[in-house]
Protein backbone atom coordinates (compact mmCIF):
# COMPACT_ATOMS: atom_id res chain seq x y z
CA UNK A 1 0.00 0.00 0.00
CA UNK A 2 1.29 3.45 -0.84
CA UNK A 3 2.04 6.01 1.83
CA UNK A 4 -0.80 8.21 0.58
CA UNK A 5 -3.31 5.39 0.76
CA UNK A 6 -2.24 4.58 4.31
CA UNK A 7 -2.42 8.26 5.21
CA UNK A 8 -5.94 8.45 3.77
CA UNK A 9 -7.06 5.42 5.71
CA UNK A 10 -5.83 6.64 9.08
CA UNK A 11 -8.69 9.04 9.95
CA UNK A 12 -11.22 6.31 9.18
CA UNK A 13 -9.48 3.92 11.54
CA UNK A 14 -9.63 6.60 14.24
CA UNK A 15 -13.28 7.36 13.49
CA UNK A 16 -14.57 3.82 13.19
CA UNK A 17 -15.03 2.99 16.91
CA UNK A 18 -17.12 6.13 17.53
CA UNK A 19 -19.06 5.83 14.27
CA UNK A 20 -19.61 2.13 14.98
CA UNK A 21 -20.97 2.91 18.44
CA UNK A 22 -23.34 5.60 17.17
CA UNK A 23 -24.56 3.31 14.37
CA UNK A 24 -25.05 0.26 16.56
CA UNK A 25 -26.43 2.03 19.62
CA UNK A 26 -28.46 4.81 18.03
CA UNK A 27 -29.25 4.54 14.32
CA UNK A 28 -29.92 0.81 14.13
CA UNK A 29 -32.06 0.94 17.31
CA UNK A 30 -34.05 3.86 15.86
CA UNK A 31 -34.63 1.91 12.64
CA UNK A 32 -35.58 -1.09 14.77
CA UNK A 33 -38.29 0.73 16.73
CA UNK A 34 -39.70 2.03 13.46
CA UNK A 35 -40.20 -1.59 12.36
CA UNK A 36 -41.29 -2.57 15.88
CA UNK A 37 -44.02 0.09 15.91
CA UNK A 38 -45.87 -1.89 13.22
CA UNK A 39 -45.86 -5.09 15.27
CA UNK A 40 -48.60 -5.97 17.66
CA UNK A 41 -48.50 -6.77 21.35
CA UNK A 42 -50.98 -9.60 21.87
CA UNK A 43 -52.95 -10.37 25.01
CA UNK A 44 -50.48 -13.12 25.90
CA UNK A 45 -47.67 -10.54 26.02
CA UNK A 46 -45.91 -11.91 22.93
CA UNK A 47 -45.20 -9.74 19.90
CA UNK A 48 -46.88 -10.54 16.64
CA UNK A 49 -44.49 -9.74 13.82
CA UNK A 50 -46.08 -8.14 10.79
CA UNK A 51 -47.35 -4.87 9.42
CA UNK A 52 -50.18 -3.67 11.61
CA UNK A 53 -51.32 -0.05 11.73
CA UNK A 54 -53.11 -0.38 15.10
CA UNK A 55 -50.40 1.29 17.21
CA UNK A 56 -50.14 4.25 14.90
CA UNK A 57 -53.91 4.55 14.64
CA UNK A 58 -54.13 4.63 18.42
CA UNK A 59 -51.22 7.04 18.85
CA UNK A 60 -52.44 9.46 16.18
CA UNK A 61 -56.21 9.43 16.66
CA UNK A 62 -56.70 8.99 20.42
CA UNK A 63 -57.71 12.38 21.86
CA UNK A 64 -55.92 11.51 25.11
CA UNK A 65 -52.53 11.33 23.39
CA UNK A 66 -53.25 14.37 21.25
CA UNK A 67 -54.21 16.53 24.23
CA UNK A 68 -51.11 15.55 26.13
CA UNK A 69 -48.92 16.22 23.09
CA UNK A 70 -50.43 19.70 22.72
CA UNK A 71 -50.06 20.32 26.44
CA UNK A 72 -46.42 19.20 26.30
CA UNK A 73 -45.66 21.60 23.45
CA UNK A 74 -47.44 24.38 25.34
CA UNK A 75 -45.40 23.79 28.50
CA UNK A 76 -42.19 23.66 26.47
CA UNK A 77 -43.11 26.90 24.67
CA UNK A 78 -43.89 28.78 27.89
CA UNK A 79 -40.67 27.46 29.45
CA UNK A 80 -38.67 28.65 26.44
CA UNK A 81 -40.22 32.13 26.52
CA UNK A 82 -39.65 32.50 30.26
CA UNK A 83 -36.04 31.33 29.82
CA UNK A 84 -35.52 33.91 27.07
CA UNK A 85 -37.03 36.74 29.13
CA UNK A 86 -34.99 35.84 32.20
CA UNK A 87 -31.84 34.76 30.41
CA UNK A 88 -31.34 37.42 27.75
CA UNK A 89 -30.81 40.39 30.11
CA UNK A 90 -28.56 38.25 32.32
CA UNK A 91 -26.45 37.16 29.34
CA UNK A 92 -26.32 40.80 28.18
CA UNK A 93 -25.15 41.90 31.61
CA UNK A 94 -22.38 39.28 31.69
CA UNK A 95 -21.25 40.03 28.12
CA UNK A 96 -21.12 43.80 28.65
CA UNK A 97 -19.93 43.80 32.25
CA UNK A 98 -16.58 45.33 33.05
CA UNK A 99 -16.04 42.86 35.87
CA UNK A 100 -14.74 39.34 35.61
CA UNK A 101 -16.89 37.79 32.88
CA UNK A 102 -15.39 34.33 33.30
CA UNK A 103 -16.35 34.20 36.98
CA UNK A 104 -19.84 35.57 36.34
CA UNK A 105 -20.42 32.99 33.63
CA UNK A 106 -18.94 30.17 35.70
CA UNK A 107 -21.26 31.08 38.58
CA UNK A 108 -24.29 30.83 36.35
CA UNK A 109 -23.02 27.56 34.91
CA UNK A 110 -22.52 26.00 38.35
CA UNK A 111 -26.15 24.98 38.83
CA UNK A 112 -25.83 23.32 35.41
CA UNK A 113 -23.39 20.90 37.04
CA UNK A 114 -25.54 20.31 40.06
CA UNK A 115 -27.56 17.14 39.82
CA UNK A 116 -30.81 17.59 37.88
CA UNK A 117 -32.83 15.49 40.32
CA UNK A 118 -31.49 17.46 43.29
CA UNK A 119 -32.29 20.77 41.63
CA UNK A 120 -35.78 19.57 40.78
CA UNK A 121 -36.55 18.30 44.25
CA UNK A 122 -35.03 21.40 45.85
CA UNK A 123 -38.22 23.29 44.96
CA UNK A 124 -40.13 21.07 47.38
CA UNK A 125 -38.03 22.65 50.15
CA UNK A 126 -39.05 26.09 48.92
CA UNK A 127 -42.72 25.68 47.99
CA UNK A 128 -43.87 22.59 49.91
CA UNK A 129 -46.32 22.77 52.81
CA UNK A 130 -43.40 22.83 55.25
CA UNK A 131 -41.14 24.71 52.87
CA UNK A 132 -39.42 28.06 53.15
CA UNK A 133 -42.29 30.13 51.70
CA UNK A 134 -45.02 28.72 53.88
CA UNK A 135 -42.78 28.87 56.91
CA UNK A 136 -41.97 32.53 56.25
CA UNK A 137 -45.61 33.49 55.57
CA UNK A 138 -46.76 31.77 58.75
CA UNK A 139 -44.07 33.39 60.85
CA UNK A 140 -45.11 36.77 59.48
CA UNK A 141 -48.73 35.95 60.28
CA UNK A 142 -49.93 36.37 56.70
CA UNK A 143 -51.46 32.89 56.70
CA UNK A 144 -52.44 30.59 59.53
CA UNK A 145 -52.49 27.33 57.60
CA UNK A 146 -49.83 26.31 55.06
CA UNK A 147 -50.93 26.55 51.41
CA UNK A 148 -50.11 23.82 48.90
CA UNK A 149 -48.25 25.66 46.16
CA UNK A 150 -46.72 22.57 44.57
CA UNK A 151 -47.88 19.92 42.14
CA UNK A 152 -49.41 21.99 39.36
CA UNK A 153 -48.48 23.11 35.87
CA UNK A 154 -46.83 26.29 37.13
CA UNK A 155 -44.39 24.39 39.34
CA UNK A 156 -43.57 22.05 36.43
CA UNK A 157 -42.67 25.11 34.33
CA UNK A 158 -40.74 26.59 37.25
CA UNK A 159 -38.70 23.40 37.58
CA UNK A 160 -38.03 23.29 33.84
CA UNK A 161 -36.95 26.94 33.73
CA UNK A 162 -34.56 26.31 36.63
CA UNK A 163 -33.13 23.32 34.74
CA UNK A 164 -32.86 24.95 31.30
CA UNK A 165 -31.98 28.60 31.98
CA UNK A 166 -28.18 28.03 31.84
CA UNK A 167 -28.51 26.70 28.27
CA UNK A 168 -30.24 29.92 27.24
CA UNK A 169 -27.78 32.23 28.98
CA UNK A 170 -24.75 30.43 27.58
CA UNK A 171 -26.01 30.53 23.98
CA UNK A 172 -27.05 34.18 24.10
CA UNK A 173 -23.77 35.09 25.79
CA UNK A 174 -21.74 33.36 23.07
CA UNK A 175 -23.51 35.29 20.31
CA UNK A 176 -23.36 38.62 22.19
CA UNK A 177 -19.62 38.13 22.67
CA UNK A 178 -19.23 37.73 18.92
CA UNK A 179 -20.72 41.16 18.18
CA UNK A 180 -18.29 43.98 17.54
CA UNK A 181 -19.14 46.65 20.14
CA UNK A 182 -18.02 49.29 17.64
CA UNK A 183 -21.27 48.67 15.77
CA UNK A 184 -23.28 49.84 18.75
CA UNK A 185 -20.99 52.83 19.24
CA UNK A 186 -21.39 53.71 15.57
CA UNK A 187 -25.17 53.60 15.85
CA UNK A 188 -25.01 55.79 18.96
CA UNK A 189 -22.73 58.34 17.33
CA UNK A 190 -25.13 58.53 14.39
CA UNK A 191 -27.84 59.69 16.75
CA UNK A 192 -29.53 56.48 17.86
CA UNK A 193 -30.51 56.29 21.50
CA UNK A 194 -29.07 53.40 23.53
CA UNK A 195 -32.41 51.64 23.32
CA UNK A 196 -32.66 52.16 19.53
CA UNK A 197 -29.16 50.86 18.89
CA UNK A 198 -29.92 47.84 21.04
CA UNK A 199 -33.18 47.10 19.21
CA UNK A 200 -31.82 47.71 15.72
CA UNK A 201 -28.22 46.53 15.99
CA UNK A 202 -27.46 44.28 18.94
CA UNK A 203 -30.71 42.36 19.23
CA UNK A 204 -30.89 41.30 15.55
CA UNK A 205 -27.23 40.24 15.62
CA UNK A 206 -27.78 38.11 18.72
CA UNK A 207 -30.85 36.33 17.34
CA UNK A 208 -28.89 33.21 16.25
CA UNK A 209 -27.81 32.68 19.86
CA UNK A 210 -31.31 33.30 21.12
CA UNK A 211 -32.63 30.77 18.60
CA UNK A 212 -30.01 28.17 19.58
CA UNK A 213 -30.84 28.61 23.28
CA UNK A 214 -34.54 28.51 22.48
CA UNK A 215 -34.22 25.30 20.49
CA UNK A 216 -32.31 23.59 23.30
CA UNK A 217 -34.81 24.75 25.95
CA UNK A 218 -37.77 23.66 23.87
CA UNK A 219 -36.43 20.25 22.82
CA UNK A 220 -35.06 19.36 26.26
CA UNK A 221 -38.18 20.70 27.96
CA UNK A 222 -40.59 18.82 25.71
CA UNK A 223 -38.70 15.55 26.20
CA UNK A 224 -38.69 15.49 29.99
CA UNK A 225 -40.66 13.16 32.23
CA UNK A 226 -38.91 13.49 35.59
CA UNK A 227 -39.96 17.09 36.31
CA UNK A 228 -43.72 16.42 35.85
CA UNK A 229 -43.48 13.41 38.17
CA UNK A 230 -41.61 15.29 40.91
CA UNK A 231 -43.23 18.74 40.66
CA UNK A 232 -46.48 18.11 38.78
CA UNK A 233 -49.90 16.87 39.85
CA UNK A 234 -51.77 13.81 38.57
CA UNK A 235 -53.06 15.72 35.53
CA UNK A 236 -49.73 17.26 34.54
CA UNK A 237 -48.31 14.31 32.59
CA UNK A 238 -46.19 15.23 29.60
CA UNK A 239 -45.70 13.19 26.45
CA UNK A 240 -42.54 11.46 27.67
CA UNK A 241 -44.53 10.23 30.68
CA UNK A 242 -46.82 8.40 28.24
CA UNK A 243 -43.82 6.77 26.62
CA UNK A 244 -42.47 5.69 30.02
CA UNK A 245 -45.91 4.42 31.00
CA UNK A 246 -46.29 2.36 27.78
CA UNK A 247 -42.78 0.89 27.90
CA UNK A 248 -42.10 0.34 31.60
CA UNK A 249 -45.53 -0.01 33.22
CA UNK A 250 -47.79 -1.48 30.52
CA UNK A 251 -44.96 -3.26 28.72
CA UNK A 252 -46.68 -2.46 25.41
CA UNK A 253 -43.46 -2.02 23.50
CA UNK A 254 -44.87 -1.66 19.96
CA UNK A 255 -47.19 1.15 21.12
CA UNK A 256 -44.33 2.71 23.10
CA UNK A 257 -42.22 2.63 19.91
CA UNK A 258 -44.91 4.47 17.97
CA UNK A 259 -45.27 7.10 20.72
CA UNK A 260 -41.47 7.59 20.91
CA UNK A 261 -41.27 8.08 17.16
CA UNK A 262 -44.14 10.59 17.31
CA UNK A 263 -42.18 12.65 19.83
CA UNK A 264 -39.02 12.29 17.75
CA UNK A 265 -40.88 13.39 14.61
CA UNK A 266 -42.27 16.55 16.25
CA UNK A 267 -39.02 17.59 17.94
CA UNK A 268 -36.83 16.37 15.05
CA UNK A 269 -38.77 18.59 12.65
CA UNK A 270 -37.88 21.60 14.80
CA UNK A 271 -34.20 20.64 14.79
CA UNK A 272 -34.28 20.21 11.01
CA UNK A 273 -35.98 23.58 10.45
CA UNK A 274 -33.38 25.15 12.72
CA UNK A 275 -30.57 23.40 10.84
CA UNK A 276 -31.99 24.52 7.50
CA UNK A 277 -31.98 28.21 8.42
CA UNK A 278 -29.22 28.62 10.99
CA UNK A 279 -27.06 25.52 10.71
CA UNK A 280 -25.69 23.29 13.42
CA UNK A 281 -22.53 25.35 13.88
CA UNK A 282 -24.29 27.90 16.12
CA UNK A 283 -25.61 25.13 18.35
CA UNK A 284 -22.17 23.53 18.62
CA UNK A 285 -20.67 26.86 19.68
CA UNK A 286 -23.03 27.06 22.61
CA UNK A 287 -22.50 23.46 23.65
CA UNK A 288 -18.75 23.31 23.31
Amino acid sequence: MSVEAREARQPWILLSPALGAVTLLLFVPLAFILVYSFWLRTATGADQVGFYLENWREALSDAFYRDILINTLKIAAITTIVCALMGYPAAYFIARSKGNKAILLLLLMLPFWISYIIRTMSWINILGVSGAFNSALMTLGVISEPIQMLYNETTVILGLVHFLLPFMVLNVFVSLEGIDTNLEDAANSLGATKWQSFLQVTLPLSLPGLAAGGLLCFVLGAGTYITPIVLGGPTDAMFANLVFEAIITQLNWPLGSALSLMLLAVLGTLVLIYNRYLGMAQLMKGLG
Partner: protein, 261 residues
Protein backbone atom coordinates in the same frame (compact mmCIF):
# COMPACT_ATOMS: atom_id res chain seq x y z
CA UNK B 1 -30.75 53.80 34.76
CA UNK B 2 -31.18 51.03 32.17
CA UNK B 3 -27.95 49.40 33.20
CA UNK B 4 -28.97 49.34 36.87
CA UNK B 5 -32.23 47.67 35.89
CA UNK B 6 -30.31 44.97 33.98
CA UNK B 7 -27.94 44.55 36.93
CA UNK B 8 -30.84 44.07 39.35
CA UNK B 9 -32.54 41.66 36.97
CA UNK B 10 -29.34 39.62 36.65
CA UNK B 11 -28.98 39.54 40.43
CA UNK B 12 -32.51 38.17 40.70
CA UNK B 13 -31.70 35.52 38.07
CA UNK B 14 -28.65 34.42 40.09
CA UNK B 15 -30.80 34.36 43.22
CA UNK B 16 -33.38 32.21 41.43
CA UNK B 17 -30.67 29.77 40.36
CA UNK B 18 -28.97 29.50 43.73
CA UNK B 19 -31.68 29.91 46.34
CA UNK B 20 -33.18 26.38 46.05
CA UNK B 21 -29.73 24.82 46.09
CA UNK B 22 -28.68 26.89 49.10
CA UNK B 23 -31.81 25.78 50.94
CA UNK B 24 -30.92 22.12 50.31
CA UNK B 25 -27.52 22.66 51.89
CA UNK B 26 -28.99 24.66 54.76
CA UNK B 27 -31.65 22.07 55.57
CA UNK B 28 -29.18 19.20 55.46
CA UNK B 29 -27.65 20.62 58.66
CA UNK B 30 -31.04 21.03 60.30
CA UNK B 31 -31.43 19.43 63.72
CA UNK B 32 -35.21 19.29 63.43
CA UNK B 33 -36.72 15.85 63.28
CA UNK B 34 -38.64 16.45 60.06
CA UNK B 35 -35.87 18.26 58.30
CA UNK B 36 -38.08 21.15 57.31
CA UNK B 37 -38.49 24.74 58.39
CA UNK B 38 -38.20 26.17 60.96
CA UNK B 39 -34.55 25.34 61.60
CA UNK B 40 -34.09 24.18 65.16
CA UNK B 41 -30.34 24.01 65.28
CA UNK B 42 -27.16 22.79 63.64
CA UNK B 43 -26.61 19.08 63.40
CA UNK B 44 -24.69 16.51 61.40
CA UNK B 45 -27.13 13.71 62.24
CA UNK B 46 -28.45 13.42 58.67
CA UNK B 47 -24.98 12.94 57.29
CA UNK B 48 -24.32 10.25 59.89
CA UNK B 49 -27.58 8.52 58.99
CA UNK B 50 -26.68 8.85 55.34
CA UNK B 51 -23.33 7.15 55.88
CA UNK B 52 -25.13 4.22 57.51
CA UNK B 53 -27.78 3.83 54.83
CA UNK B 54 -26.85 0.65 52.95
CA UNK B 55 -29.08 1.38 49.94
CA UNK B 56 -27.52 4.79 49.36
CA UNK B 57 -23.98 3.50 49.76
CA UNK B 58 -24.72 0.76 47.23
CA UNK B 59 -26.15 3.35 44.83
CA UNK B 60 -22.99 5.42 45.23
CA UNK B 61 -20.79 2.46 44.39
CA UNK B 62 -22.89 1.66 41.32
CA UNK B 63 -22.81 5.27 40.12
CA UNK B 64 -19.06 5.57 40.59
CA UNK B 65 -18.23 2.30 38.83
CA UNK B 66 -20.66 3.13 36.02
CA UNK B 67 -19.30 6.67 35.73
CA UNK B 68 -15.67 5.53 35.60
CA UNK B 69 -16.34 2.88 32.97
CA UNK B 70 -18.46 5.29 30.91
CA UNK B 71 -15.77 7.95 31.10
CA UNK B 72 -13.03 5.50 30.07
CA UNK B 73 -14.89 4.12 27.07
CA UNK B 74 -16.46 7.29 25.76
CA UNK B 75 -13.28 9.32 26.24
CA UNK B 76 -11.30 6.74 24.28
CA UNK B 77 -13.84 6.73 21.44
CA UNK B 78 -14.23 10.49 21.59
CA UNK B 79 -10.52 11.33 21.57
CA UNK B 80 -9.84 9.05 18.59
CA UNK B 81 -12.73 10.57 16.63
CA UNK B 82 -11.74 14.13 17.56
CA UNK B 83 -8.16 13.48 16.42
CA UNK B 84 -9.45 12.30 13.06
CA UNK B 85 -11.73 15.31 12.67
CA UNK B 86 -9.21 17.94 13.77
CA UNK B 87 -6.00 16.50 12.35
CA UNK B 88 -7.04 15.08 9.01
CA UNK B 89 -8.95 16.31 6.01
CA UNK B 90 -11.84 13.87 6.09
CA UNK B 91 -14.27 13.99 3.19
CA UNK B 92 -17.75 14.72 4.53
CA UNK B 93 -16.40 15.92 7.91
CA UNK B 94 -19.56 17.98 8.51
CA UNK B 95 -21.86 15.03 8.02
CA UNK B 96 -19.69 12.86 10.25
CA UNK B 97 -19.70 15.51 12.99
CA UNK B 98 -23.48 15.72 12.85
CA UNK B 99 -23.78 11.92 13.01
CA UNK B 100 -21.50 11.80 16.06
CA UNK B 101 -23.48 14.60 17.77
CA UNK B 102 -26.82 12.93 16.94
CA UNK B 103 -27.27 11.27 20.36
CA UNK B 104 -27.87 14.68 21.94
CA UNK B 105 -30.15 15.86 19.14
CA UNK B 106 -32.49 12.93 19.72
CA UNK B 107 -34.68 13.36 22.83
CA UNK B 108 -33.18 11.20 25.57
CA UNK B 109 -36.45 9.32 26.14
CA UNK B 110 -36.48 8.22 22.51
CA UNK B 111 -32.82 7.20 22.65
CA UNK B 112 -33.59 5.25 25.84
CA UNK B 113 -36.56 3.41 24.32
CA UNK B 114 -34.78 2.59 21.06
CA UNK B 115 -31.69 1.20 22.80
CA UNK B 116 -33.71 -0.78 25.37
CA UNK B 117 -35.95 -2.41 22.78
CA UNK B 118 -33.22 -3.11 20.25
CA UNK B 119 -30.74 -4.63 22.70
CA UNK B 120 -33.57 -6.62 24.24
CA UNK B 121 -34.33 -7.94 20.76
CA UNK B 122 -30.66 -8.91 20.52
CA UNK B 123 -31.14 -10.85 23.79
CA UNK B 124 -29.34 -8.28 25.94
CA UNK B 125 -31.78 -7.69 28.78
CA UNK B 126 -31.88 -4.86 31.25
CA UNK B 127 -28.46 -5.18 32.78
CA UNK B 128 -25.34 -3.31 33.70
CA UNK B 129 -24.15 -3.83 30.10
CA UNK B 130 -27.23 -2.09 28.73
CA UNK B 131 -26.81 0.71 31.26
CA UNK B 132 -23.16 1.15 30.27
CA UNK B 133 -23.97 1.10 26.54
CA UNK B 134 -26.61 3.77 27.10
CA UNK B 135 -24.34 6.01 29.14
CA UNK B 136 -21.51 5.69 26.60
CA UNK B 137 -23.67 6.68 23.64
CA UNK B 138 -25.26 9.53 25.57
CA UNK B 139 -21.96 11.03 26.82
CA UNK B 140 -19.95 10.52 23.60
CA UNK B 141 -21.14 13.72 21.85
CA UNK B 142 -20.24 15.86 24.87
CA UNK B 143 -16.74 14.36 25.00
CA UNK B 144 -16.27 14.96 21.27
CA UNK B 145 -17.43 18.59 21.55
CA UNK B 146 -15.17 19.33 24.52
CA UNK B 147 -12.08 17.51 23.22
CA UNK B 148 -12.41 18.91 19.70
CA UNK B 149 -12.62 22.47 21.02
CA UNK B 150 -9.40 21.95 23.02
CA UNK B 151 -7.54 20.03 20.31
CA UNK B 152 -7.87 22.83 17.79
CA UNK B 153 -5.67 25.01 19.98
CA UNK B 154 -2.71 22.59 19.96
CA UNK B 155 -0.29 23.86 17.37
CA UNK B 156 0.97 21.46 14.78
CA UNK B 157 4.40 23.07 14.42
CA UNK B 158 5.47 21.67 17.80
CA UNK B 159 4.97 18.18 16.43
CA UNK B 160 6.63 19.08 13.16
CA UNK B 161 9.61 20.43 15.10
CA UNK B 162 9.94 17.14 16.98
CA UNK B 163 9.80 15.16 13.74
CA UNK B 164 12.33 17.38 12.01
CA UNK B 165 14.65 16.79 14.96
CA UNK B 166 14.45 13.08 14.23
CA UNK B 167 11.59 11.78 16.36
CA UNK B 168 9.55 8.98 14.85
CA UNK B 169 5.77 9.49 14.45
CA UNK B 170 5.23 7.12 17.39
CA UNK B 171 7.72 9.01 19.60
CA UNK B 172 6.17 12.29 18.57
CA UNK B 173 2.71 11.11 19.51
CA UNK B 174 3.65 9.75 22.93
CA UNK B 175 6.16 12.43 23.91
CA UNK B 176 4.67 15.54 22.34
CA UNK B 177 1.05 15.17 21.25
CA UNK B 178 -0.28 13.08 24.14
CA UNK B 179 1.10 15.29 26.94
CA UNK B 180 -0.25 18.37 25.15
CA UNK B 181 -3.61 16.65 24.76
CA UNK B 182 -3.81 15.50 28.36
CA UNK B 183 -5.86 18.43 29.70
CA UNK B 184 -8.37 17.95 26.86
CA UNK B 185 -8.58 14.23 27.58
CA UNK B 186 -9.06 14.83 31.31
CA UNK B 187 -11.69 17.49 30.66
CA UNK B 188 -13.56 15.11 28.36
CA UNK B 189 -13.38 12.27 30.89
CA UNK B 190 -14.61 14.47 33.75
CA UNK B 191 -17.45 15.73 31.59
CA UNK B 192 -18.47 12.17 30.72
CA UNK B 193 -18.24 11.06 34.36
CA UNK B 194 -20.33 13.96 35.61
CA UNK B 195 -23.04 13.49 32.98
CA UNK B 196 -23.16 9.75 33.62
CA UNK B 197 -23.24 10.28 37.39
CA UNK B 198 -26.16 12.69 37.02
CA UNK B 199 -28.23 10.85 34.43
CA UNK B 200 -31.70 9.71 35.40
CA UNK B 201 -33.88 9.91 32.26
CA UNK B 202 -32.24 7.05 30.40
CA UNK B 203 -31.08 5.22 33.51
CA UNK B 204 -34.66 4.58 34.67
CA UNK B 205 -35.29 2.77 31.37
CA UNK B 206 -32.06 0.79 31.31
CA UNK B 207 -31.34 -0.20 34.90
CA UNK B 208 -32.15 -3.75 35.94
CA UNK B 209 -34.56 -4.22 38.84
CA UNK B 210 -32.88 -3.83 42.21
CA UNK B 211 -29.96 -1.80 40.85
CA UNK B 212 -30.07 1.89 41.72
CA UNK B 213 -27.74 4.74 40.83
CA UNK B 214 -27.63 7.79 43.09
CA UNK B 215 -30.19 9.81 41.06
CA UNK B 216 -32.64 6.90 40.76
CA UNK B 217 -32.21 6.20 44.49
CA UNK B 218 -33.08 9.83 45.26
CA UNK B 219 -36.03 9.58 42.87
CA UNK B 220 -37.27 6.44 44.65
CA UNK B 221 -36.86 8.13 48.05
CA UNK B 222 -38.81 11.19 46.83
CA UNK B 223 -41.84 9.02 46.23
CA UNK B 224 -42.23 8.54 49.96
CA UNK B 225 -41.65 11.94 51.47
CA UNK B 226 -38.82 14.39 51.40
CA UNK B 227 -36.62 13.41 54.32
CA UNK B 228 -33.65 15.40 55.59
CA UNK B 229 -31.52 12.49 54.49
CA UNK B 230 -32.26 13.46 50.88
CA UNK B 231 -31.06 16.98 51.61
CA UNK B 232 -27.85 15.59 53.09
CA UNK B 233 -27.41 13.38 50.05
CA UNK B 234 -28.10 16.45 47.91
CA UNK B 235 -25.36 18.37 49.70
CA UNK B 236 -22.89 15.54 49.06
CA UNK B 237 -23.95 15.43 45.38
CA UNK B 238 -23.57 19.19 45.05
CA UNK B 239 -20.06 19.00 46.47
CA UNK B 240 -19.20 16.16 44.11
CA UNK B 241 -20.73 17.46 40.91
CA UNK B 242 -19.52 21.01 41.42
CA UNK B 243 -16.19 20.06 42.94
CA UNK B 244 -15.14 17.64 40.21
CA UNK B 245 -15.48 20.00 37.23
CA UNK B 246 -13.80 22.79 39.21
CA UNK B 247 -10.98 20.36 39.99
CA UNK B 248 -10.81 19.51 36.29
CA UNK B 249 -10.64 23.19 35.44
CA UNK B 250 -7.85 23.67 37.98
CA UNK B 251 -5.89 20.72 36.52
CA UNK B 252 -6.30 22.08 33.01
CA UNK B 253 -5.26 25.53 34.17
CA UNK B 254 -2.16 24.40 36.09
CA UNK B 255 -1.14 22.17 33.18
CA UNK B 256 -1.33 25.10 30.79
CA UNK B 257 0.58 27.49 33.06
CA UNK B 258 3.34 24.90 33.55
CA UNK B 259 3.54 24.56 29.84
CA UNK B 260 3.68 28.30 29.42
CA UNK B 261 6.56 28.83 31.85
Amino acid sequence: MGWNLIRTWTLLVYLFMFLPVAVVVLLSFNASQFGSFPMTGFSLRWFIELSQNEAILRAFRTSIVLGLMTATISTTLGVLASLALVRYRVPGANVISTLLIAPILVPEVVLAVALLLFLNFMSINKSFTLLLAGHVIFTLPFVILVVQARLVSIRRDVEEAAMSLGASPRQTFFQITLPLMLPAVLAGALFAFTISFDDITGTLFWKPGGVETVPTQIFAMLRNSISPEINALGTVMILLTVGLPLLGLAIARSASTKRGS
